[in-house]
Structure formats: structure tokens, C-alpha cells
Symmetry: C2
């Protein structure tokens, strides 16, 4: 039976990509972590992408019109701070985030981060992450897609949707998952374990 | 020039449907309006659908885990109360609304409505409205679709999406508009005036 399950996984993995919904979260630099928490980030649990983790530390994100408390911080620390929110979140904060690939923060709006030990004023870094698929080199080859290719993704969910402008990111440090934000996840009525299919 | 504009509108109307985003809102019966407000609904401004209006009156919607204050009430009153929320709203209220066509409330979850004069406990009526296109008979004939047909709708928006399971509702009392909830509107980065195209 264990073999059967492995074969089923391999077949499904050739046809489909597992979907994940990313809630709002924050990336900080080491220096910002020390200012916010008095120390660097500490891991609470690993995420699906190898090496990435949910930190024990949490922050409040403050915008001109609202705030979110208890927002997840993901580690390890990065070279640049980044606040990833949905467009719905943007309305509540009073910030209009551009839709950008992760890491592309130049010229994006800022926000204030509050931690238990201090406050960090970000001049930029608030984005709505462009929907994307993380892929290993092997999976990308099997599915016939390349790094930075933009594809369509049809969700096999309760309310099926085909998302256009989905960015493929290939790296052997990745695990193969499609990432949607909560607006997108709710628009297709995503539930954990749901699959999607990449379309040309 | 006025003629040119009319021709442009006619051409676009043959190819595309204007999109609208529906925020969370409530429909009540006359008797419920009297209990909540002390009188029947009074119109504040007309909506895109002829005869429908945004009421001056507003309610608080209360669920097991949260509440929304100042929620829009749409008139005229109906035979059955209905609370239309997004799946995102459902998470905040602690209610899991089924995705249903408007008017189909049997067996759906309830909620509490609070008005300035009283409270109404709904045993059912909370739904996530199935995405849908209102169409006049003429527009439906021109686009080759029928009442109750389920179609795909591709949005011509910043983040294009093709929504499946979009319900066509044809009635000469309607004006032709596609209605999305806020999750769907944000998932495709809708802005007022954006168009969609019905696909088979």
C-alpha cells in the first residue's frame, strides 16, 4: 500500500501542483529583528519551502487607516524588509500595495512595524505578492516550464478559477507549491490539500 | 460626438459585460425592518439594478467570532432575509457561508442583526452569493446565453482571472452587469469601470 501511495503521489505530482494560501506576513532584517524583539528571529515551525520558518516573534503592522496585530514574521531574516498583504488588507490599512514578485520592493509604500521592544518605520516594502509557483528543477522540467515563465493556473477547488499572470520560480531549494494570497484563495474557495493545474 | 459615444457603448456592450463588486450587505423583510429600525426601509440611492436601492438604514451583523458594524441594507424588502458576505467575512464572523444563488437560503447558517430599535435573530440566510451576471433579454440574446446558464467570465483587469461557475440571470427588470464579491474583485484587482468577457 505504501508503494501505491507513492505511485499516486508521483502521478498527481506530474499533473498538478498543490495550492497553498499565504496569509499576511512580514520579513525583516537581522538589525530590524533586534530592534523589534531585542534579538534575532527564533523558529516556531518550518514552512513548506525548505529552510523557511514561521518565527515565534510577531509584529503589529500600522498603516494610515488601520492596523493588524499579531502578524506572522517569517524567517530567516532577509536583506530587505517586506510586508506581504492582500488587496483587502490594503483597504483596511489605507495602503495600496503594488502587485510584485517577492523581493521586488523598490518604490513600494511603507508601513510601521511595532514589536515588544521597539518600532521600525519602513520607507518601502509593502507589496501584494504576485501569485506564483515554487518549483524544483525536476518538477519544472517534467511540467515543461522555466524559471520566470508566466503561466495560467486552474484551481481544482469548489469555485474553480483560472488565474493568469502566475509567476513560475524554479530553484532546487524550493518545494513545488503554488502560492495564492487570501483574496485569491477565497475567490476560488480553496481548502488545504486542493490542487491546481498549470495551463500554457 | 454623442453619436460616436453611443456606437462605442453599443460595440463594447456586445463584446463585454461591465463588472461590479458587491460588498457585504443585508436584505430584510418589512416586519424585520420595523423591528430593527421602527419603520420600513427608506431609499438613500438607487443601485445598478432597476428598482433596487441602498437604504439609509444600516445594521450590525453578529456571528460567533466577530461582528461587522454599519453594514449596508438593500431595498426593497424581500420575503426572506438574506445576509451576503464573502468567505473572508465568514472567517471574521465565525460563520461558513455556503456559495448560493441569491434567494437560495434554505439550510444556510444564521446570524444576529442589530438595529437602532431592536434585534433580529436569523435562523438562516447567511450565504456567499454565487458570482453571477444580470442580463436583459436583449443582451442575453446578443451574447447567446440563457437564463440559469453557467458560464465562464474572463476579467479584463490588472490581474486577469477567468471565473468558472458564473450564473447567468436573465430578466428584463435587470441591467446587464457581472457581480463579484470583494474576494473575487480583489483576486482580479478590479477597479470600477473594468470589463469582463463571457466565455463558453
Amino acid at each position: 500500500m505504501e508503494n501505491v501511495e507513492r505511485i499516486v503521489d508521483a502521478v498527481l505530482g506530474r499533473l498538478f501542483v498543490e495550492l497553498e494560501a499565504s496569509g499576511r506576513h512580514v520579513h525583516v532584517t537581522k538589525e530590524q529583528a533586534r530592534r523589534l524583539f531585542g534579538h534575532e528571529l527564533t523558529p516556531k515551525r518550518p514552512l513548506s519551502q525548505p529552510g523557511q520558518y514561521l518565527a515565534n516573534e510577531r509584529v503589529t503592522v500600522v498603516g494610515p487607516k488601520g492596523r493588524f496585530e499579531n502578524v506572522a514574521v517569517l524567517g530567516p531574516e532577509r536583506e530587505d524588509a517586506q510586508v506581504e498583504i492582500s488587496l483587502t488588507d490594503g483597504h483596511q490599512l489605507g495602503i495600496r500595495p503594488p502587485v510584485r514578485p517577492s523581493g521586488s520592493v523598490a518604490g513600494s509604500p511603507g508601513a510601521v512595524l511595532q514589536g515588544p521592544r521597539g518600532t521600525v518605520e519602513l520607507r518601502q516594502g509593502v507589496i501584494a505578492a504576485q501569485r506564483h509557483v515554487h518549483m524544483t528543477t525536476g518538477d519544472a522540467a517534467k511540467m515543461g516550464v522555466k524559471d520566470k515563465q508566466v503561466v495560467k493556473l486552474r484551481t481544482l477547488t469548489d469555485r474553480p478559477v483560472t488565474f493568469e499572470d502566475v509567476l513560475v520560480r524554479v530553484n532546487d531549494q524550493f518545494a513545488t507549491y503554488a502560492h495564492l494570497d487570501f483574496d485569491e484563495a477565497n475567490a476560488c474557495a480553496f481548502r488545504p490539500g486542493d490542487l491546481g493545474r498549470i495551463e500554457p
